[in-house]
Subunit: 123 residues, 2 copies
DNA sequence: TAATGAACACTCTGTTCATCC
DNA sequence: GGATGAACAGAGTGTTCATTA
């Protein structure tokens, strides 16, 4: 049952990394909880035909916790109900910065790849 | 054991479509066989960190046959050996055009999505 | 050894289910 | 019904194996 590593062929960036990037930026500005972030993303990307799922947002958040980039607290949600929600804040600003820098390099790369495809195939 | 359909959330274009696009364009210009195309793609995309696998090229070619866009012939390869290789030509120019148009729309969309990410997260 | 193709296996992520307010 | 999380399952594609010239 040994699990062999798979190499990446380096095509385009993964959804997970893309969402993690946006989550970090959003949380730098204010506190959010999971479903808020989902709504925000759907609103942002909807016009571009991209509608992420709630589970992928949670997976991204859990990744960021494991990475040590975010930390989580529980607060009572505003309003008549006293439901607790999980809100996130930046835990390690340096790590966040490093992650964003890495993703930027990949976004640039992908961007070039797409531009190249448009040039090469639609002369 | 009913197979449920999965919806796409519409993130980025798939490698398969990307390769099919390039294959069509290459074959519009001259005849190619599978491994030639692979070498060409590796040379083209290598500087961008993308190195497709041979099996994905073949899958793309088989798709294009099924789509009715390409047709396949066998020829004796040049050189001292008389090995047969499978060379492809455009079968239906209209279908090819339609496919390329569709992919262009998706590439444009993806391109905008990436540009947006660069703007939104790296002010 | 080059070329083609298919089987196998892993990753990513969409879908569904379970809890708890 | 909103929020969170985990289990389950399918699509996409990387890896390996088989075949033939």
């Amino acid at each position: 049952m040994s699990t062999r590593k798979r190499e990446s062929t380096g095509f385009l960036i993964k959804q997970r990394a893309f969402l993690k990037l946006y989550i970090i930026t959003n949380i730098e500005n204010r506190r959010w909880y999971g479903l808020q972030l989902l709504d925000e993303m759907k609103k942002e990307f909807g016009p571009f035909g991209f509608e992420p799922q709630h589970s992928e947002i949670y997976r991204a958040l859990h990744d960021l916790l494991e990475d040590g980039i975010l930390t989580r607290g529980k607060i009572k949600k505003n309003g008549s109900k006293y439901q607790e929600v999980a809100v996130y804040t930046i835990k390690d600003q340096e790590k966040a910065k490093t992650y964003k820098k890495m993703v930027k390099a990949d976004l640039d790369r992908c961007s070039h790849l797409l531009r190249k495809a448009l040039e090469d195939n639609y002369a």
